[in-house]
């Protein structure tokens, strides 16, 4: 039996025309899938539980910047899913053995059992992923690339501050 979770019952997921971009974690099937819809909204389908007759997925709509940070290994999966500013919507989806929705709940993070959340140290590892077409792979690589460029640019800014000539500090006002 799957755990009972509090939430608002819905007839179906309010996600239309989703397209699988990649299975970010795959072992004998998807464990974390990344989908986009026609409006380029981003969704993670995160497998979190199962019993004899059902699989349970935590479906999370995410802001793109947060997903980029995860793919560029700037944050862990746990940090990504727990960041309130990153999540715009969140559902539990139970599918039966035919893959059909058996129950859909709109849920709050606080109502999820602890073992439904990833642990710490869940840095993205591309070796766990499967990309289904070149276009999707390129799209994902571009997201990672952009995030890395952002990170590099921030690193440069930090380096510029750290390596400023000493006289700049000498003439800088001191805040007490």
């Amino acid at each position: 039996m799957l755990s009972t979770v509090q939430g608002l019952h819905l007839p179906d997921l309010p996600i239309k025309n989703r397209r699988l971009i990649a299975d970010l974690i795959y072992f004998d099937g998807a464990l974390l899938s990344y989908y986009q819809d026609n409006d380029r909204r981003h969704y993670l389908y995160y497998w979190c539980d199962a019993d004899e007759n059902h699989h349970r997925w935590w479906v999370v709509q995410l802001e793109e910047y947060a997903l980029r940070s995860f793919l560029a290994r700037q944050i862990t999966l746990r940090q990504l899913l727990l960041r309130q500013d990153a999540r715009t919507d969140s559902f539990l989806l139970d599918t039966d053995n035919d893959g059909q929705p058996a129950q859909v709940l709109r849920v709050e993070l606080a109502d999820l059992p602890d073992d439904y959340l990833p642990a710490d140290e869940t840095w993205y590892d591309a070796s766990l992923s499967i990309f289904y077409d070149h276009l999707a792979a390129r799209e994902l690589m571009a997201m990672m690339q952009d995030s890395l460029q952002e990170a590099q640019s921030k690193l440069k800014q930090i380096e510029q501050i750290i390596f400023r000539p000493i006289e700049i500090y000498e003439h800088s006002p001191v805040v007490s």
Partner: protein, 141 residues
């Protein structure tokens, strides 16, 4: 070679892939503690055949993999992958089991992929092979 799931593989392009080979090797697999558990030596698409319609199994490549058994080349690689995935999906043990079993695969047992960078091997079993009698549990994970 005739395959255990030959009927399912027959319509799939390049399945098993041409670079898979017959070879003898020691293999490790995630299993449930009861070695007679029905899912212990079934590939993903035989455990839940309806998943063939899921988005992850649309391509022939993915479907072909779905009829192969996941094995590892060393117990360390099996243990490492299990622990890694269990950090991401903490109920992973509910689908793959709680133990590692070890067995000797013979060349006649099927066609195997070379181990990937993490020691994972996919095996398409030959017809009439029963791996359950070849494997013994070596540790709880």
């Amino acid at each position: 070679m005739k395959f255990k799931y030959g009927r399912e593989l027959s319509g799939l392009e390049d399945c098993p892939p041409t670079y898979y080979e017959n070879r003898d090797f020691i293999a490790y697999r995630f299993v449930f503690s009861d070695l007679a558990h029905i899912n212990n030596f079934l590939p993903a698409l035989k455990i839940t055949p309806q998943r063939i319609n899921a988005p992850s199994f649309v391509s022939d490549t993915a479907r072909c993999l779905g009829f192969a058994l996941s094995l590892f080349d060393t117990v360390e690689n099996a243990r490492h992958r299990y622990h890694q995935i269990s950090l991401f999906n903490r109920n992973f043990s509910k689908v793959v089991g709680t133990h590692i079993a070890r067995g000797q695969i013979a060349a006649a047992d099927g066609l195997a992929s070379p181990p990937d960078g993490h020691g994972h091997i996919s095996l398409h079993e030959a017809e009439n092979v029963d791996l359950a009698i070849k494997f013994r549990i070596v540790e709880e994970i």
